[in-house]
């Protein structure tokens, strides 16, 4: 019997050693797709799942920029090849996809991700593999607080959003004494972003000497917001700061109209209030609502946004404009690096400084004129590789159309006050 067991063990060992012989072909070199005819760039956005529509909108911006660059001859004669990853809005999948892009597809850099929780995990992966990760969209402040060397953020952070929103309100009341800005309250969903919005609103309100009355938080995807609106009515702030996902934003606006609650200024943190489906869904009830925006089609980059709209039949918004710009930033960095090498691109991104227009002459379509990634101290927190110069514009919906009302120098309309909601 012992002999037979021995035979079995031997057979096992043989099988295993045979299996070991046939592996080990896949892994590729460390520094990425230099030497091929194309430069491979990975994207990691949610293309499926509950935020898929946002991810697909982002991808339009990416594609549009890549097509433009490739038509103009690519990067040093090499075409850009986009390798799409799908995070499905899930951290586990996001991590696996990042590893696939890096080790299987051998991309030189990754653009992504959307949700801050996914970005947080992916940033750790790219840090370990030493691959540059450039996010155009993720706004959570905490992302750049970990000291990552390979993670770059183009988007303004949440604190920058609130800084500009509160500043605009102060400017409005400075310009027109009728505009009351003595107190502030927040209505947001109870998630990372909503909580940060309330936190920063409080921080900047106190900095500006505005009374902070408190926040009303609800569960994302709410079925009813009546009691929340009643609470807001009770607080009765001069300025109502709102941060909602699209379905909640629509519901909130409608509930406020039903209950006849009309705060003098209602200012949104982009998201719902610049979504293409917002105005059609609520009709006249949105007139007078103010919102921050990462991009304002009226002022800069009109040709680009028109061409974009013609191609996709959707207007360019903050997400697609930022995704578009991120590709151009990466292109500039790769050119400056002189080769499609991960380490060189990371160094180039650290040093890149784009003022007014990209080296080829294309203008920056976002509201600000300088893009650079620097380490900076923001409200007492150390941030690495953040685009500190990013600013926002403030729009107001007037007669169903977005009008720029802030910064005051580039405003194409005056603030309608108090907001009419009709």
């Amino acid at each position: 019997m012992k002999k037979r067991i021995l035979a079995v063990v031997c057979a096992c060992a043989l099988t295993v050693s045979m299996l070991m012989g046939c592996g080990g072909k896949e892994e590729s070199g460390g520094s990425g797709g230099d030497g091929g005819d194309t430069i491979k760039i990975g994207t990691l956005y949610p293309l499926t799942g509950d935020v898929a529509s946002i991810g697909q909108n982002i991808m339009r911006g990416v594609e549009f920029a890549v097509d433009e660059i490739n038509e103009k001859g690519g990067i040093d004669g090499k075409q850009i090849e986009i390798v799409q990853g799908d995070s499905a809005g899930d951290t586990k999948t996001g991590m696996a996809e990042a590893e696939r892009l890096i080790t299987q597809e051998n991309v030189v850099a990754i653009l992504g991700a959307y949700q801050s929780s996914v970005t947080e995990v992916v940033a750790q992966v790219t840090e370990r593999y030493q691959v540059p990760l450039l996010t155009a969209i993720s706004t959570a402040d905490s992302l750049t607080e970990s000291g990552y060397q390979y993670f770059f953020r183009l988007a303004p952070t949440n604190s920058m959003f609130l800084r500009d929103m509160i500043q605009s309100v102060v400017d409005f009341s400075g310009q027109n004494p009728e505009v009351k800005a003595g107190s502030i309250a927040v209505c947001a969903d109870n998630t990372l972003l909503g909580q940060e919005t309330a936190e920063w609103a409080k921080y900047f309100a106190e900095e500006q000497g505005i009374e902070y009355l408190g926040e009303v938080l609800y569960t994302k995807g709410a079925a009813d917001l009546s009691s929340e609106v009643v609470q807001l009515k009770d607080l009765n702030p001069d300025v109502l700061v709102v941060d909602n996902y699209i379905s909640d934003g629509i519901l909130l606006t409608k509930t406020m109209a039903e209950q006849g609650y009309k705060p003098g200024i209602m200012i949104g943190k982009a998201t719902a209030y610049i979504d293409p489906s917002y105005i059609p869904a609520v009709g006249n009830a949105c007139n007078g609502i103010v919102t921050a925006a990462e991009f304002n089609p009226g002022t800069k980059g009109k040709e680009i946004s028109d061409a974009f709209e013609k191609e996709y039949e959707v207007a360019m918004n903050g997400h697609s404009a930022e995704a578009y710009t991120a590709v151009w930033v990466l292109k500039t960095a790769i050119e400056e690096a002189g080769k499609a090498d991960r380490e060189a691109i990371k160094d180039a991104l650290t040093n890149v400084k784009i003022e007014g227009s990209f080296p080829g002459g294309e203008e920056i379509i976002l509201p600000y004129d300088t893009i650079e990634f620097s380490n900076m101290d923001m409200n007492g927190q150390e941030h690495t590789n953040t685009n500190g110069g990013a600013t926002l514009t403030i729009l107001q919906i007037q007669n169903g159309e977005y009008k720029t009302v802030w910064p005051l120098e580039i405003a194409d309309a005056e603030l309608q006050y108090p907001a009419s909601y009709e």
Binding site: L19, M20, G85, A96, Q104
Partner: protein, 335 residues
């Protein structure tokens, strides 16, 4: 006749050895990543199956119990520098006890009513952690970054997590298998098949459900420790109810009620869904989900008892059993 240690066990050991040697001949880290994900899903599904499969109490709150384990171990690590290895024991006992205590008044509820209660508990925990300052609120907790440290379960290479995950899945599989074959297991299955009869023959359904909850949720919390230390970032979203469905899926495909079912289910659907995602979503986003859904529908429609449910009653199994028995006979017969 089945033996305690026969050809089946040898085959299983061989399988484990082959899987354990995988990192040596597959150098692709992506493949290793998928393996780790599979180990994790299999472990979670096995843990779920103690309550959902063996006892027949379908829970949709297990993501929250996993999250509870992840949070407890992470908070212990961050604030008190307690090694995750020690946390494994702590969370097993603590989460097991908490859930058994919380759910014990609900065991009178049957079928979908019990399921609804577990959803409610899951969402309660998620909301608790979303609003709890100490646990980082909605921002979650990032595990400390730094040098590799075995004691802190922190590795920069995938292989270490691979073996950690493999160890976890083997351990949980053995535990669940042992329960299945024990007196406890028969008690649980009796409760599943007919609670009233169980009561009549002296098996107290309430007591058995408490034990099953303790073990199931405790093991789930252990998976949470692995999750936290592997992904190194946790937030309240890991507790969301749709995640619970993901843990239940391998069991449904593989076969609820069989121990091998959840394991087999995870081995099939985790790589499959990742493969479909990687290959198809760049061509037409979402088409991977269509194919995935079709596979699920086909299985549920034609094989509601899952793969193992079909296999256990099939002629194939009888044939395979015969082969194994004859090998056993030859190998171990005493001349």
């Amino acid at each position: 006749m089945k033996r305690k240690f026969g050809s089946r066990q040898i085959l299983l050991l061989l399988l484990i050895v082959i899987v354990a040697l995988l990192p040596l001949y597959v150098q692709s880290t992506y493949t290793i990543t998928i393996c780790i994900m599979t180990f994790y899903m299999a472990s979670a599904s096995l843990a779920w199956s103690v309550l959902g499969g063996l006892t027949g109490q379908i829970s949709l709150g297990h993501a929250a119990f996993m999250g509870l384990g992840a949070y407890i171990s992470t908070l212990l690590l961050v604030n008190f520098n307690v090694s995750p290895w020690i946390s494994i024991l702590i969370v097993f006992v603590v989460v097991g006890a908490i859930t058994a205590l919380l759910l014990s008044p609900c065991f009178g509820l049957r079928g979908p009513y019990f399921t609804l209660v577990t959803i409610a508990f899951g969402e309660t925990f998620r909301n608790l952690f979303t609003n709890w300052e100490y646990a980082g609120k909605g921002k979650g907790i990032l595990l400390p970054y730094g040098e590799d440290d075995f004691g802190l379960m922190r590795f920069s290479d995938k292989q270490s997590y691979f073996y950690l995950g493999l160890g976890m899945v083997v351990l949980i599989y053995i535990i669940v298998k042992m329960i299945d074959k024990s007196k406890l297991g028969y008690g649980l299955k009796t409760v599943r098949e007919d609670e009233d009869t169980a009561n009549a023959i002296g098996i107290n359904p309430w007591k058995y459900k408490v034990i099953a909850t303790f073990i199931s949720c405790g093991l789930m919390a252990v998976c949470g420790v692995f999750y936290a230390n592997y992904y190194r970032f946790i937030d309240p979203e890991i507790m969301i109810q749709t995640q619970s469905v993901e843990y239940l899926m391998p069991a449904v495909i593989g076969g609820i009620g069989s121990v091998t079912g959840p394991l087999l289910g995870a081995v099939i659907i985790t790589p499959l869904s990742q493969f479909l995602n990687a290959t198809l979503s760049s061509i037409a986003a979402g088409s991977n989900l269509v194919i995935y859904a079709v596979i699920l529908i086909v299985v549920i429609l034609f094989q509601p008892r899952g793969i193992m449910g079909w296999f256990n009653g099939s002629k194939l199994k009888a044939k395979i059993d015969k082969v194994f028995d004859s090998i056993d006979g030859k190998l171990f017969s005493k001349k």
